[in-house]
Symmetry: C2
Subunit: 274 residues, 2 copies
């Protein structure tokens, strides 16, 4: 398998390019041409690497990593967070889930609640949904007029640029599933009594708006994939494959940070413990 | 191995009893009489249980779990958090570490920053150090006079009672190590270049105060172990054994919550996905 750098990653949305998300495949074999069983073995070695890299990030305590996940319902945000990030020490990571905003949150600009959750030094923060919903959902459900949400592309690009300039590494991942795959996953929730609670009849309303969401996602990916905060549209119809792609992007990003254990200002040889 | 309930757990600090922490063993074999290798196998099955129970807590979304860890330096707080809690979905847990308070925090009462970090519905929150430092460290280092810190036993008992009354389950764990074990662990940090950054020469000052800390811990455990928020003094000289004891207490606590997947207000059979 050839080494893929992040810059030429086939599923990176190249800044400045045109995007039609419906033309980007939701299944793929090119990056990890193997069977599921082999993929699960590979994941174990990825898990070890992730664990070591995050330990170093935490120890160094100087850099911050923000990983943003967006997807349609059942796209796999919860699954990928569990499968890829539970390799990390709970002490160094945090998940922020952005649901329907509270009255207090709505009484502020839409980036107010987001800003409070960005990572601190040494920390990995995962956003399960994000400020991108303030364009996507708002646009598709026609909550605000275009004149209001179209300004948000610039707001967000500028906000993320500021975070990056101040020391936060940002990774944005769209979990790209097909409408057929969503149908199967919704049905699986209906059929399994332990998963039924995850089924929200309102999800069917969003499903009916699939083409509008794809249009909105295409614009978001096109207008907000930057060198400072690139998007990846990860093929997500096959769960184990999706996990590998995300883990691989994560590992390469962490390796690029060139983290070092902190130096100390004493000579350990001179210290005696009584 | 006999089933140990939490109420009669040998390392539970029984509310109302006298406590001399130096008389409580820091090593033990009674709960898991086995070798390390066997213990690690058992931990794998515990891990699976923890994972399932936490998934259910999160799904149910009605109850909250707060796990407080206190220990002397090198006592194993970081290790036990990593080894026991990384079995949980990162989405449902959060670690709050309380370090030296910031000027903003010091400009409030000592429970202000604590209260902000308590768990919400469905969440597990782990405190790495806690409001107990506002008695322990403050007393031993003589930061405030006794007249000030001795009121805090009541404050804390009342605060935790309120949390419990409002739906939070509280578990408090003192990782009990011997001074000899601490000496070995500090030396191991000095001897390992990848661990050296964890060594803080100031830890030796606290080590010199060991007897005073044990006196302070004895009083804290005696005065603040309640039915609503019991303390466990876990023998922690052997790391794998300590992890098993903590995992077992955690599992029994979660099982006691009798969690249920949420019911839905629709009949799944009537729903068709287009």
């Amino acid at each position: 398998m050839p080494a893929i750098s992040l810059k030429n990653h086939p599923f990176r949305i190249q800044p400045g390019g045109k995007v039609d998300i419906t033309a980007i495949p939701t299944t793929d074999e090119s990056l990890f041409p193997m069977e599921k069983k082999e993929g699960e073995e590979l994941m174990k070695s990825f898990a070890k690497e992730i664990d070591e890299l995050q330990t170093r990030l935490y120890a160094e305590g100087k850099q911050r990593l923000l990983v943003i996940f967006q997807a349609m319902d059942t796209g796999g945000k919860d699954g990928v967070i569990r499968n890829v990030f539970d390799k990390m020490d709970p002490q160094g990571i945090r998940v922020a889930s952005f649901k329907r905003p509270s009255p207090l949150e709505l009484a502020h600009d839409y980036l107010w609640r987001i800003h409070q959750e960005v990572p601190q030094n040494g920390e990995v923060v995962i956003f399960n949904r994000s400020h991108y919903e303030d364009i996507l959902a708002v646009r598709v459900r026609e909550i605000f007029p275009k004149s209001r949400w179209e300004k948000r592309y610039d707001h967000i690009v500028n906000f993320e640029q500021m975070l990056a300039d101040e020391g936060t590494t940002i990774l944005k991942i769209f979990l790209n599933i097909s409408p057929d795959e969503q149908k199967q996953r919704l049905q699986a929730r209906l059929d399994d009594s332990e998963k039924l609670w995850k089924f929200n009849p309102g999800d069917l309303d969003d499903r009916a708006l699939w083409p509008k969401f794809m249009e909105a996602y295409s614009d978001v990916l096109e207008k907000t994939s930057t060198e400072a905060a690139p998007w990846y549209a990860v093929p997500a119809d096959r769960k184990w494959y999706r996990d590998l792609v995300v883990a691989d992007i994560l590992i390469k990003t962490l390796k690029g940070l060139d983290m070092k254990y902190p130096s100390v200002d004493f000579d350990p040889k001179t210290i005696t413990i009584d």
